[in-house]
Structure formats: C-alpha cells, structure tokens
Symmetry: C2
Subunit: 337 residues, 2 copies
DNA sequence: GGACCCGATGTTTACGTAAACATCCCGTGG
DNA sequence: CCACGGGATGTTTACGTAAACATCGGGTCC
C-alpha cells in the first residue's frame, strides 16, 4: 500500500480510502491512485483488513456430508447468496457424526476467521454438545428443532408430508404406508409424524412403518416387504431415492405402478421425472432455504442480536405419473382383472 | 493474549510460544499458561496470525455448481482432506459460466485469504481468461486438459469409456451407440473420443452421436430417438443420469433391457443399483480425486513450485444387470420371439 | 474583509501475533 | 571461584490496514 501511495504521490491513508470506496476523495486523485494500484498489481490484504476491522466477511458452514442432494443444493445456494453479499464461505466438514466430531468442528471454528456459522445437521447431536460459541459469532441452524434456542431455517417438512398423504387419500386409497428415514433424523421424524397425524385425523388405519436409511437400496428392501402386503395400495416414501428403490421392488414383484400401487416421494430430485414411472413427489426449495439462512445470519451479524424461532420455506406437491386411484375395492377382489 | 500473559504471570511471547506449540517452554510454565487460556476463554486470532505469517492455511475452491454428483463428492473429499491437514476450505461459486464470471471469481480470490486454489470447471473458459494469479498462490485444476500449464487431477475418463465400450463389444454387440454430454465439457469430450477410438480400432461402424446435457431428461429424449433405431442394441451413456433417461425411453417404447438393448452409464451413482434394471456403469473415485487435489496443492504450497502434468485416478467398470449379449442376429429377425 | 466552516488530504496509532534479538540464571569445567 | 554456554523467558518490532485526529486551503457569510 505504501508503494502505491508513493507512486500516486499521496498518503497511504488516501489509498485506503480509495480501496474501501470511502467518500471524500476528489476524482482526479482517485484516478491517480487507481492507476498506481493497477500498475503495481496491488491487492488489499484481507488478513490485515480483518485484523483491523475485527470482522472477516466470512461465514462458516458446518455439515456432516455434501453427498445428499439437499445439503449440496443448500450449500450451493448459501455460497451464491453469500458471494452476492460480499461474504465468503468456509466449509467445515464434521468427520464423524459423533459428539466429539461436532465439538471438534466448533472448536476449530472458534479459532477460525468467521463472523457467523450456519449449521446443517441433525440437532440431537447439537443437544448433546455443550456449545461454546466464540463471542460475537452468530448461528443459524438448518433442519432442526432447536428453534427455541437458535434461529432455524427449514423446509416445511410437515406440510409437504401432509400434502403427499392427503393426495393419496383424496385419490381414494384406504390408507397410506410409509417408508421412513433413519430414526436420528429430524426431517425423517417430522415427515413421519405428519403422515401419522393425517391418517389419524382421517380415521384411517395407521400401518406399521418401514424404516430405511435414505438410500435407494434401503427403499428397495422396504419395497420388497410392502410388495408382499396385498392391502398396500399407496406408499409415501420419505425421500425420492427410497421411492426409487420402492419402484424397483414393486416392478420386480409384478405390482404395477400406479395401476395397483401408488408411490409418492419427497425432495423432487431432478431425476424424478425419469423414474419408471415419473414420480409424484414433494418439491423442496433448497435454494430458498440457503438464501434465507444467509439473509438471517447477516441480519444477526449486523444487528448483533439473535432471535430464536423457525422460518419455514413452503413445499409443493408435484403430481406426476406414479399416483392414481386404487384398484377395485377388496370387496370384489380381482374383479378388474 | 496480553490478558492471558498477565494472569499467568508471563510475557505475551511465552503465551505465543505455548499456543503455537513451540519448544523451549518449561512444563510448569506451560501448564500455567494453558490454565490461564482456559480461564479467559482465549482463542488465537487467525487474522493476526495470517497477517504475521503471511499464510492463511486456507484453500479456495472455484466451481460453477455443486449440483452435480461429481462436484459435490469431490468437494466433500477436498474439504475432509484439507481439514485433516489443518487447512480450511473457502468456496468460490462462479455465478455464470462466462468469461466475466470466472474472471470475477479469480479477482475476488486474489483479494481473498487463500494459499492455494483448486479449480473445478470446464477449462475452455480458463483458456479464454487471462489468469493473473496473485503471486505465491498455487493452483490445481480438476477435469481439464490444462495439464501443460497447471497440475491437473482427474478421473481417467478415457480408460473408463474404453472399458465400457469394450465390455459391450465383448458381449457380442456389433457396435455401440453413444449419448454424449454437452459439447463444452471436457469430460464429455474425452468419453466420446475414447468411445469412437475403440470402435474404430475394432473396425466397427461408428453411429452418429446423440447429444444430451447430462440431465435425465435429455437422456430420455436421446433414448426415444435410439429406441426407434432397430439396429441399436447397445448404448453407452456418458453419465448415469442420462442412462436413467435412456432406460425410461426404452421401457416406454417396449424395448427390453438387457434382453434387446444393453445400456452402460458412467459415474456409478449410489442410486444406480436401484434403476430398472440395476445399471452397469463406470465407477469414479471422486474421493480419491479430492484427496489428490489437496495433496498436490499442499505439496506445491510447501515447495513453492508447480509442475504441470496430469494425475489420473483409475476407473473401474461395475457390471450389473443392464447389459447382456445382443438378441439373435438380424439375419433371422424375430427368430427368438 | 475577516472569521469561520467544511471538504480534501496527511499523520499517528492500534489491531493480535510471532520472529528476532536481548536478558537472565543456572550448571559446568578449567 | 570465575568465565562461559545454553536453556528459559522477556522486550522490541513489524506485518498491512483503517479509524481517529490533525492540517491545510478555499469559499461563504455577515
């Protein structure tokens, strides 16, 4: 910076003013400084800036994995929005989904140069961890029920599940079977709870839950069990991948979709239009979740206050070809064949 | 730091020595300092450290999108490996895949606190951009043919494609049709080139290429066209998603897989086992690519030298149920029906 | 016409850390 | 018993920036 100042024939403070876009620099001076910067290839040193200002213009993101569509799409949206706001994103993968792993990530983040943190993970681990955040570092949590302690942004999982189940009931199905995600997952839990509530409110039988682990493989196994269940005509899978597995299992067992069995997924993966048949599913707006996270976090950072509470991003049901009215009622079995 | 020093009854320099694990501090002193640190909740300020040392212990990752499986898995591996080496990852999304977008990202990175950069993108844009890297910042490029200018790490795309095509020829197919990715993609280009080469070397007819854009939807459209081609008994899709679309199109047109038509994909997505039928595909080791990137970059950072050249990570063909010998030769059409 | 004011620019200083150098003290060997 | 050496610790300084304050000069108002 001193070199630039010398070349431009001004003081380093004026250079600083120009580089920060400070007002009060006459146009002719400003142009000289800019020319000198270009000539010397000057780049402001962000470490020195951060040291001086005490803020880093950086947001940390803590997560377990990027391999799920939801996480990678959310992170992508977070990164895009942050970039637009002039913030950088630092990724903080947690090696193992254990208490130590999470604690370790937070400790490292504490030493790190971030003004705020976005946490994308199952919150029961957050519960277990004694979170000691560096003072002045704000947090927003995704996919969690920690709304009483931290600001939370999430898809409206419950409403999406309700729409899915109601759609199947409206088509005339007596009840809906459910392939759920892992027990530790809050998303999974909320989808299952909404499914159960709708059935109970409608006075329908609540069939036993089939548990998967989000993978297509686990959906396939669950699908094989459901295919053996003659009364099962409607299945709500907690995500699209498991729905894909269910479709394969039903196909293998000769149960036609949607003629004999209807299937609904959750996520609306880009591929869902190419499943056999194209999948009716609940669309999640991951991009909006990401934007809201960044927005909420920056608001906190600027205002220095964190208000717990949950922001819900709406979901919409996308009806494709995997759902239809059930076959003829069991009173006249095989009447349609 | 001064507070810690005061509480521990030592100088701030001794505190610094303890916090950096410097030798030459007597055990009893060290313990006192550590106790004081804990009591005051001291955390080293990374901005000040970076300013003093001139290095940031941070790696920047430039990419267009996280929505492709390959990119998100690679980034995940990069983040994990970097964390293990004590480096943080800063994400740098490029808004638009244009020259300006790329240039903008590099400019911002120049002002950013990174010791090295990993670029994940189609390199013909790199070509067009006049890359002015901040001095001392190293680069590794993924998925590119810039091996003459930068170190490159990539999956061995060509070999994977060769294995796929040879597998189909070995099964007895007369030739193999290809659904390729977008023209701008180097991965796509290399897979297509290897496909063509194998066919030519085997003296087979090279059918016209069907072009897709990586999406299942585009694979579906290509599949519809191929389904109308009676002589087409073997299809190599440049990725699994397009293969999924092809499978759907063939199914809709009543062409059975693999009895009538064989299909091979590329990527080995986790879902590929649940396609109808489970997909034969080329497995990519994204995790290894990520590890190599970080490893190579850190080596450069430590040695201060960059050696252009390409590191290839091997691929393996995973044979599942979407490939089989062709139906009876056209000399006796329909003889098997 | 002079006091005052305000905009443009310069000077000083501090942010938190760690390298370089200085100092102190104890043990050892001649 | 003293000089010397080396390990432990303290003091000084600089990293690049920007806030706070200082200065300077020209225009405005009474």
């Amino acid at each position: 910076m001193a070199d630039v100042a010398r070349l431009a024939g001004v003081s380093s403070q004026t250079v600083s003013r120009v580089s920060t876009g400070h007002p009060g620099v006459v146009e002719s001076t400003r142009r000289q400084v800019l020319a000198a910067m270009r000539e010397l290839g000057y780049r402001p040193n962000s470490a020195a800036r951060a040291l001086k200002r005490g803020t880093f213009h950086t947001i940390g993101v803590i997560l377990f994995t990027l391999s799920t569509t939801g996480n990678s799409r959310t992170v992508e949206a977070i990164a895009a929005q942050a970039a637009q706001e002039g913030y950088a994103i630092t990724l903080f993968p947690v090696a193992a989904p254990t208490q130590d792993g999470v604690l370790g990530a937070f400790t490292r983040l504490g030493e790190l140069a971030v003004d705020g943190i976005i946490v994308i993970m199952e919150v029961h681990l957050l519960d277990a961890v004694n979170l000691t955040l560096p003072p002045g570092v704000q947090v927003v949590v995704v996919d969690s029920d920690a709304g009483d302690r931290y600001p939370v942004v999430d898809t409206d999982q419950a409403d999406g599940a309700r729409q899915a189940v109601r759609h199947l009931l409206d088509l005339g199905h007596a009840t809906v079977w459910h392939v759920t995600g892992p027990a530790e997952s809050f998303s999974s839990e909320r989808r299952a709870m909404a499914w159960r509530t709708v059935l109970e409110e409608a006075g329908r039988v609540v069939p036993p839950v089939e548990r998967g682990d989000w993978s297509a493989e686990s959906g396939y196994r669950a699908g094989l069990r459901l295919a053996a269940e003659p009364s099962c005509t409607a299945i709500f899978a907690a995500n699209d991948q498991m729905a894909l597995g269910v479709l394969r299992a039903l196909h293998e067992r000769g149960r036609r979709v949607p003629a004999e069995v209807s299937v609904v997924g959750f996520d609306d993966l880009p591929d869902a239009t190419a499943y056999l048949p194209p999948l009716t599913t609940v669309h999640q707006d991951f991009a909006e979740v990401g934007r809201r996270c960044v927005h909420g976090l920056l608001e906190q950072i600027r205002d220095e206050r964190a208000e717990p509470g949950t922001v819900l991003v709406p979901t919409t049901l996308v009806v494709r070809e995997s759902t239809a009215p059930p076959p003829a009622p069991p009173a006249h079995p095989d009447s349609r064949r």
